[in-house]
């Protein structure tokens, strides 16, 4: 185990730190054999990288790759509020917690041999802030008023206020090599050779990128925090899931990250050469109700249809058990998740009673309820490129028929679907959110917000959302988030369908693999293949990386 893994995790929450709080580092998975250097990991990824220049990248798949070439000052633990060492060994808050100082590990160099210093951190923050860069997380830097290099190995961030995510915001921007980019205008950085031939500072070095074909990284033998065990990682771009499934089963590919469709899970699980990793992922699927629609203005209708939704059946049938019934918008990967909130039960009898209490009765015996001359018949929209969501609509159509509601499925091209959602041009819609690191509900449930397409307007909820976001005390904030979520659940703006597991299949020869909510590559620099089981003989290139040149 490398030295940096022995250090305890550090909490990012100022208040907890003041009380001497801390956390444990990520748990290691069991391993067999003696750790050995060598071999190659072949990863099958669905799409090509957009860029390897971190500030302009918007693809999670790209950051999976360049996240091994570039490291951040601190690296997140799976709960996203505790940190493990990265390029910095540790950090500290000053007395009023308005400054955070990071202490960089001595001896780290860029892959071209130049030393990595605090100036590179300061430089990167300037790049991320430049309007020409279009850095999508630029608003995370809003509270940072100053970044200064105290000395070559110490960098200090100053904030305009104390808040919960001071460290998170400080480490979001990857340090960049000032000696290469210092003279390049911001507008030209995205097109600079470094965007496709990165010169990083992490455990793996860039070897090659053949567009649409593959990206190759190799172990950085000079990494002062410890050379990774694997000699190479080759990311093969394979868009077709059937082909990728074939390749992992015949051994051409070693890792199939984010296995989709879930129907592949039992197939891979029964393969003795593969190991499956499955854990709650960072996204959830929901059924949104347009509360401005005459049918769904009455929350009893929304509640009744939630009661009529057999969500466990969806998890069992569509996810092959690899998921959890949804309960709330702040899912289990976020610190503000409230495990005491129970999901609405599947109770068709109560659903029928609630609909009748709301005045919806089947008077003509056609199986569909009516009220004031209007039938309980509505459209349910989703995007046609997501097979699972189309299946959900079909299953719900059957389940709602049993309580006297008629669903008319409408499937749309993705951009059209999003446009109609944002325009509130829908009655019911099956969609999903990928949840970020921070607890935030205002964008989706705050009055007047563009993503509040369900038109959530409960007065208490609207008061709680901004209050919870600015509350610094973690326990107090948790209580506020819990109350807000209980209102959202009771109002049934959404029927929370499920939280899908992240599933990854990997060849059984790889040891010490720890995958978790942080991502499948959480400790990739510690993976190894015991000598007797190594498959590829790929030597390391001892020369440093030369930008735009041959090594």
């Amino acid at each position: 185990m490398h030295a940096y893994r022995r250090l305890a995790g550090m909490t990012a929450v100022a208040i907890a730190l003041a009380c001497g709080g801390g956390g444990e580092a990520g748990e290691q998975a069991g391993a067999e054999g003696v750790p050995a250097d060598g071999d190659m990991l072949v990863v099958g990824i669905g799409s090509d990288l957009d860029t390897m220049f971190p500030p302009t990248s918007e693809s999670a798949g790209s950051s999976d790759v360049f996240g091994n070439v570039y490291w951040t000052l601190m690296r997140s633990e799976p709960d996203f509020i505790h940190f493990r060492p990265g390029l910095a060994d540790s950090f500290s808050f000053n007395e009023d917690s308005l400054q955070v100082t990071f202490y960089i590990h001595p001896g780290i160099t860029w892959h071209d041999g130049e030393p990595f210093t605090a100036d590179d951190v300061v430089f990167a923050i300037g790049v991320c802030r430049a309007p020409e860069i279009n850095y999508s997380a630029v608003s995370w830097l809003d509270h940072i008023t100053n970044v200064e290099a105290v000395d070559s190995l110490t960098v200090r961030f100053t904030y305009d206020e104390r808040y919960m995510y001071q460290v998170v915001d400080a480490v979001v921007c990857y340090p960049l090599p000032e000696h290469i980019l210092g003279d390049v205008p911001f507008a030209e950085m995205a097109n600079h050779p470094i965007a496709r031939e990165p010169v990083g500072n992490g455990p793996f070095r860039f070897v090659s990128w053949s567009a649409g074909q593959e990206v190759v990284l190799e172990a950085n033998p000079d990494f002062v925090l410890g050379r990774p065990h694997l000699n190479r990682i080759t990311y093969r771009i394979i868009p077709d899931a059937t082909n990728l499934a074939t390749q992992i089963q015949n051994g051409e590919v070693d890792l199939f990250p984010r296995v989709t469709p879930p129907s592949l899970y039992p197939q891979f699980e029964s393969d003795p050469d593969l190991v499956m990793h499955s854990y709650p992922g960072r996204s959830y699927t929901y059924l949104a109700w347009n509360t401005q629609d005459p049918i769904f203005q009455d929350k009893r209708v929304r509640q009744a249809l939630t009661l009529a939704s057999d969500r466990q059946a969806l998890v069992d049938a569509l996810l092959y058990g690899q998921g959890q019934v949804g309960t709330q918008p702040l899912i289990s990967t976020i610190w503000a998740h409230d495990p005491t909130i129970q999901p609405w039960p599947f109770d068709p009898d109560s659903a029928r009673a609630l609909l009748e209490a709301a005045g919806w009765v089947d008077t003509d015996g056609d199986g569909v309820r009516e009220k004031d001359g209007r039938r309980l018949s509505f459209t349910m929209k989703t995007n046609n490129d997501n097979r699972m969501r189309v299946d959900i609509v079909t299953v719900l159509q059957q389940q709602y028929q049993a309580v006297g509601a008629e669903v008319k499925p409408v499937t749309l091209e993705f951009n059209t679907f999003i446009e109609q959602l944002l325009a509130k041009d829908f009655q019911a819609a099956v969609a999903g959110w990928v949840v970020g690191i921070k607890a935030e509900l205002a964008p989706t449930f705050g009055e007047g917000e563009s993503f509040n397409f369900v038109s959530a307007d409960d007065p208490e909820l609207q008061r709680l959302l901004p209050e919870a976001e600015v509350t610094r005390d973690m326990e107090a904030a948790k209580a506020l988030w819990s109350r807000a979520q209980r209102i959202i659940v009771d109002e049934a703006y959404y029927t929370f369908l499920f939280q899908l597991n992240d599933m990854h299949a990997i060849d059984s020869r790889f040891q010490n693999v720890d995958m978790n909510a942080y991502g499948w590559g959480f400790n990739i620099e510690e993976w190894y293949v015991p000598e007797g089981r190594q498959k590829y003989n790929v030597p390391l290139n001892p020369a440093p990386v030369v930008l735009g040149g041959d090594r």
Binding site: A195, G212, Q213, R236, D240, T242, T246, Q247, E419, V538
Partner: protein, 325 residues
């Protein structure tokens, strides 16, 4: 001949301009734009507005069109919104791959189609002809993507004879030079077969009927009466005339190969233009779609021109320079 080529080239300019303009406005009429992928609750709408401004998407469509056209006319295809690099670099990466795949598929189509069609005609109503007829209809009616998947399951998964995707193996750079050629060929075989087999079946049908028509002609009977061997009669006399309808197919097949490659390139992870345009359409990467549409249009026009020129080669009665093609 040169005059004819020049004339056709000049005629192509308004066609290319019209096609590109149509695609430009159709793309912009579709919902969403390249910043749609950024529409998420955790991204500030102000950031998205800044991106739209930086990309020039905040301008009216007609202004965007004029800007695009003026840079296009100067040979500047622009910058990819999604790949964040010059489009000319992307085309340099992908076009050779598509041409390689299409060329091999083309060889399979015509070599196999002409050979099978000729044998069928010569052995009309024999068991060889019957089997080939059934086979031709089977492959012709089979979608290429399905055939591709079946090939993967059979040749890659079941028998592990050929690699399932990509242009080279993961350890390509460590192979000796001679093995590198073999490796490339092995990766090319399945996608080229999947792309070409349906069209080869079609060519075989045309070839069979063309050849049957020719071998009943008086000049063939005369050739036989002169004592020429059957091989010379078939391959030197009859085949040349039987090829004329097949050459018509050649012109029509070139654009089909680019279109058909969309699915095949996706299934076999072949980094060509077909896969690129699909991704670009979904990501609303307007400049990439326009550039690829432009290159594809050129290939269509070029295919048609090649077919016309080949007519004159196989049929001296056709004189392209007199505009009689």
């Amino acid at each position: 001949m040169i005059g004819y080529i020049l004339k056709r080239t000049l005629q192509a300019i308004p066609i290319l301009l019209g096609a590109s303009t149509l695609i430009f406005f159709l793309m912009h009429a579709a919902p969403g734009d390249p910043t749609s992928i950024y529409i998420r609750p955790d991204i500030d709408p102000i950031v998205i507005e800044q991106m739209r401004k930086n990309l020039g998407l905040d301008q009216p469509v007609h202004i965007q069109y004029v800007r695009w056209l003026s840079s296009f006319a100067r040979g500047d295809f622009g910058f990819s919104f999604s790949q964040k690099r010059p489009i000319i670099d992307i085309i340099k990466d992908t076009l050779p791959n598509t041409l390689l795949l299409s060329s091999v598929a083309l060889v399979i189509i015509f070599a196999l189609g002409v050979l099978v069609g000729t044998i069928q005609a010569v052995r009309q109503y024999s068991w060889v002809d019957n089997v080939a007829t059934v086979g031709a209809f089977f492959f012709y009616s089979m979608p290429s993507f399905w055939f591709g998947l079946m090939l993967i399951l059979l040749l890659s998964y079941k028998f592990q004879l050929l690699p399932a995707s990509q242009m080279t193996s993961v350890n390509f750079e460590f192979l000796p030079a001679s093995d590198q050629w073999v490796d490339r060929l092995k990766h090319l075989l399945m996608p080229a077969m999947a792309l070409g087999i349906g069209s080869a079946a079609s060519v075989a049908r045309y070839m069979r009927s063309g050849m049957l028509e020719q071998i009943r002609q008086d000049y063939v009977r005369t050739a036989r009466a002169k004592g020429l061997s059957e091989r010379v009669v078939i391959f030197k006399h009859a085949m040349r005339n039987a090829l004329i309808p097949v050459i018509t197919l050649l012109g029509l097949t070139l654009p089909f190969l680019v279109g058909g490659a969309v699915l095949i390139e996706t299934i076999f992870a072949w980094p060509g233009m077909g896969r690129l345009i699909v991704t670009a359409i979904f990501q609303r990467d307007y400049p990439v779609v326009l550039a690829i549409a432009f290159v594809s249009s050129i290939m269509v026009i070029l295919g048609s021109l090649i077919a016309d020129i080949l007519y004159s080669v196989v049929d001296p009665r056709v004189r392209v320079d007199e505009g009689e093609a």
